[in-house]
């Protein structure tokens, strides 16, 4: 449908409609996973490994079991069904059996009548470990003789992309090495949920998650139950950002509930939350860019390592993303990319906002600046000159069919107003690096400006049909016609549920739209990740609404015909009325003696997996963003303050402009965090900073004003032409800020986050050896595939029988 034919209904598509969950949230009445409560409820607790790698010789639960108030203590042997789970590969034990592979791995679970009792009982579970040598460095893990994390070795997936002639000569070469740290999603609402045993021998699980159906697909086999006996319901989600893609407490709570016959709630503490979900993969990236003397990219080499920690999670998809986006949103005729996702005995890594793109964006944008410097060119000009556009061919040989306004986002970003230069004379310390309590009057404070451009896929890639289902029902109420939308799509804070309501309002011309609580009673909506739900579940609701409208129009025509009238022109809906050729025919209410209901599934266009040479039409659609950062650095203290972030985003079409701004601002904050402060610090696989005291996230004082612009060039073939906007700001903010820091200090800064020591030269740039050779792997698919470990995610998308 083209944008021009959208009908206007209050709170519809294109308006900054109020959030549907806004009022309960400001009142404190919104029920999150950690707020769940049931009569006779027990509190679950997890016993975790203190070792990065150890053999379990035995577990003594007698003392814990006899502790007053304890109702159950369960071990690996008590897992009723399959002993392992996983998103892409079922490689992760529900409870460790004979071996632990990371610090924090669950070994035992228990349920007790009170949280303090549960905690104390957990201290009484005695595990006899034989500590084994651990490998906690990603390059170390690739060396011969390194301790093996899995029987099939230390490589999850190696992606090799050969594009054009990787030996093509160039006039100018620049080379660099870059690192990014392990980042935590730092979801404010910890992992939480409650399992309630049901009379049919099944279980109802209320849980904060990003994808109910993929959870159920992992939970049910482990419980030894058919899927229909495991019913999942979405509890309020306190942020996600990738942290809730993997199963955390789900299976544990269900096991305890089924064993005790009582509801069991598990809520992770903040410390436990750092072990309870996957993190952003730390990266090491070697890059070489070759260009002509006039600044046209000729050839790029990239060697990418991602440390995935102990288990697969979604790591194979993350490394595929990192590989395919390694050269940035530029036309690159020749390239060689070697990207490896490694296993170590570190905590597992998987999805986090940006999903492999931020790590390589940090590197390729630093390289573009280096190239500009080597050529004596303006950094923006080098980028503009090489910018991708519709019709460009990516390094995987994919022709960019959709909108690709790369030039436009760069130009719009640069056109945004710059912050004011500081006035001469003493400055308000509040506005200086270090803030209040610092008394520098602005002397020794240097300003720098940096830019970055990046891109990312929307929806799942590589041949995966991550379809979304929705059911829409229109019925009559005392206050006029109303719509109910049923979708399993998880609202995680981004505003998806408001978007779905906006779509229904626009399609049906009815303002009164409510949402059925998301659950597994309907088919999968796919994950609330990969910036995909506006397109996918928005598309499903649109299709279902159109089916409803079709039936409504059939009734309208039938009634007109029975009254001997013929309706001329196209039938449409607006403000609760049916119109023919723009003229009112009657109230929708009049046609709802029987409610109308329709269920539809939306599929995006098919894609392909990469072949042996890393070639294929792999991504559904692409979104682009450019960011400019202005920073100030106190040269004595190494403290940095971001003065302004300016951001231009390719959104296709803004369904909810206020929501789009919110994603841009919030996403930028997360990218700022990785640029300046956020790092899960590890020591031999142990997290040293598992608290909000020691793991720093940006505060109100750290965040500058964010000025933003949206480029609306509708994406052909998707609902309303809208692209997702959840991730792009995060991936460009980090390189833009670090580029600005380089400009302010003149230092080469090649690791994020940048620390104060780096800014005043107390710490040298991180050094590297030569890139490690490509590992031997059995084929182009992830290694566990060849060992029969596929989790069968695609099975989820088969239509369910009613």
């Amino acid at each position: 449908m083209s944008v021009g034919t959208l009908r206007r209904t209050r709170g519809g598509v294109g308006s900054s409609a109020r959030r549907v969950d806004g009022v309960p949230k400001v009142k404190g009445a919104f029920q999150y996973g950690s707020d769940l409560w049931a009569e006779e409820m027990l509190w679950g607790q997890t016993v975790r490994s203190p070792h990065a790698h150890a053999r379990i010789r035995g577990v003594d639960i007698a003392k814990a079991l006899s502790y007053p108030g304890v109702r159950a203590v369960l071990l690996a042997a008590d897992v009723p069904g399959r002993k392992t789970f996983g998103l892409e590969f079922a490689d992760q034990p529900v409870l460790a059996q004979d071996r632990v592979r990371y610090v924090g791995e669950p070994v035992a679970i228990l349920a007790a009548v009170d949280p303090e009792v549960a905690r104390r009982a957990a201290e009484r579970v005695v595990v006899d470990y034989e500590v084994l040598p651990a490998v906690t460095d990603m390059e170390e893990a690739l060396r011969p003789g390194a301790p093996q994390v899995h029987e099939y070795g230390n490589v999850l997936h190696h992606v090799r992309i050969v594009h054009g002639d990787p030996d093509a000569p160039a006039d100018v070469w620049v080379e660099g090495y870059y690192e990014t740290a392990m980042q935590d999603q730092a979801i404010l609402g910890p992992e939480a949920g409650m399992a309630v045993p049901a009379d049919d021998g099944g279980v109802d699980l209320y849980v904060a998650t990003q994808w109910l159906h993929v959870d159920r697909q992992q939970v049910a086999p482990c419980l030894g139950l058919p899927p229909e006996k495991v019913r999942l319901h979405l509890a309020g989600v306190g942020g996600a950002f990738g942290a809730r893609e993997d199963v955390s407490m789900h299976i544990h709570a269900c096991m305890l509930a089924l064993r005790t016959g009582r509801p069991v709630r598990i809520v992770y503490s903040r410390e436990e939350s750092f072990f309870g979900h996957v993190h952003r993969h730390p990266s090491r990236v070697w890059m070489r860019h070759g260009a002509t003397r006039d600044g046209r990219l000729v050839n790029v080499y990239a060697r990418v390592l991602l440390d995935g920690g102990a288990y697969a999670s979604s790591g194979a998809a993350v490394i595929t993303n990192a590989a395919t986006f390694a050269t940035g949103p530029y036309e690159v005729p020749n390239a060689l990319v070697e990207a490896t996702r490694v296993f170590t005995h570190n905590p597992p890594c998987g999805a986090m906002r940006g999903f492999g793109a931020p790590q390589v964006c940090f590197a390729h944008e630093a390289q573009m600046d280096r190239l500009a410097q080597a050529l004596g060119m303006d950094p923006a000009r080098v980028r503009l000159q090489n910018a991708m556009k519709t019709g460009s061919v990516t390094i995987t040989g994919q022709v960019v069919r959709g909108s690709a306004p790369v030039r436009q986002v760069i130009e719009r970003c640069l056109a945004l107003p710059m912050p004011e230069e500081p006035a001469a004379g003493p400055r308000d310390p509040q506005a200086l690096p270090g803030g209040a309590g610092n008394v520098s009057r602005g002397e020794g404070v240097r300003r720098g400006v940096g830019i970055a451009v990046g891109y990312k896929n929307i929806a799942y890639s590589g041949g995966f049909d991550d379809s979304a289902e929705a059911r829409v029902r229109v019925f009559r109420t005392a206050d006029g016609p109303a719509v109910e939308v049923h979708s399993a799509a998880a609202e995680v804070g981004e505003g998806l549920h408001t978007v779905l309501v906006q779509v229904a309002r626009t399609e049906l011309g009815i303002e009164h739209v409510t949402l059925h609580p998301p659950d597994t009673a309907i088919g999968s909506a796919g994950s609330t990740s990969a910036s995909r739900q506006t397109m996918m579940s928005g598309g499903a609701v649109q299709l279902a609404c159109r089916a409803v409208a079709e039936e409504l129009f059939r009734r309208v025509r039938a009634r007109a015909a029975s009254a001997g009238r013929t309706l001329r022109g196209e039938l449409t809906l607006a403000d609760g009325r049916v119109l023919a050729a723009g003229e009112p025919v009657g109230e929708v209410d009049n046609y709802l003696d029987e409610p109308i209901e329709a269920r539809r599934t939306y599929h995006h266009r098919p894609t392909q997996p990469l072949d042996e040479r890393g070639q294929g039409d792999v991504h559904v659609t692409l979104a682009f963003a450019a960011q400019r950062a202005v920073v100030e650095v106190d040269e004595e203290l190494g403290l940095a303050r971001v003065v302004q972030l300016a951001s231009a985003h390719d959104v296709g079409r803004a369904i909810n402009p206020q929501g789009v701004e919110g994603q841009i601002e919030g996403g930028a904050a997360m990218g700022l965090g990785l640029a300046l402060m956020e790092e899960v610090q590890l020591d031999g696989g142990r997290i040293r900073n598992a608290s909000f005291t020691d793991y720093l996230i940006p505060t109100f004082l750290d965040m500058p004003p964010v000025v933003s612009a949206v480029v609306e060039e509708p994406e052909p073939g998707v609902p309303y032409g809208a692209k997702g906007v959840g991730e792009m700001a995060t991936l460009v903010a980090t390189p833009a800020i670090v580029a600005a820091l380089r400009a302010a200090t003149g230092r080469p800064l090649n690791r994020a986050p940048v620390r104060p020591d780096d800014l005043i030269g107390l710490a040298p740039p991180v050094a590297s050896g030569p890139p490690p050779p490509a590992p031997a792997v059995p084929g182009p698919r992830p290694v566990p595939h060849y060992h029969g470990l596929d989790a069968g995610q695609q099975e989820l998308m088969r239509p369910e029988s009613d």
Binding site: D21, G22, G28, E116, A186, L188, G239, G662, F700
Partner: protein, 157 residues
């Protein structure tokens, strides 16, 4: 031990263990889960409540410390369907995303506007720097507090 406190205008009592925090008392004994538990160390402000009119982190106060005192929580701000102007402004300005930090922010913002009805941006940032938000990047929260201040300036307090 029995703790008795005047919570949102009503005397309530509960039996808790000596180590229970005020937050645990509110959430798990008095059925007031609006104040959130996100960090347990007083870093995030999600559990901000008033104790005898002073803004505190309920996770860093023992339930016993609240004995015989007055506690006010986010649940007391709206009068039925009528939101407090700060709550109204948070919804309107888009200051709510996942919402987990929202009750703490709303309470801290109300506290700020009680002390300083017309704060400038720097004052707002400083006053709310004890509250963490992971979703919004704080921009819309700043907008919301400004909006609430403007609206409240026109009303008797």
């Amino acid at each position: 031990m029995i703790v008795r406190a005047r919570v949102n205008g009503e005397w309530r009592s509960a039996e808790v263990w000596a180590g229970a925090s005020l937050l645990h008392l509110l959430r798990d004994h008095l059925g007031l889960p609006g104040s959130k538990n996100a960090c347990e160390q007083g870093e995030c402000g999600s559990c901000s409540v008033w104790l005898d009119g002073e803004l505190v982190c309920a996770c860093l106060v023992l339930a016993a410390q609240a004995h015989a005192r007055e506690v006010r929580t986010v649940e007391a701000l709206a009068a039925g369907d009528r939101l407090h102007p700060v709550q109204e402004a948070f919804v309107e300005a888009g200051a709510v995303q996942c919402g987990f930090c929202t009750p703490g922010f709303v309470v801290a913002a109300v506290d700020l506007l009680q002390r300083d009805p017309a704060p400038d941006d720097a004052t707002i940032r400083e006053a709310l720097s004890g509250n963490l938000c992971r979703c919004t990047g704080y921009a819309k929260i700043l907008d919301a507090v400004r909006l609430a201040a403007q609206r409240m300036a026109g009303r008797p307090r």
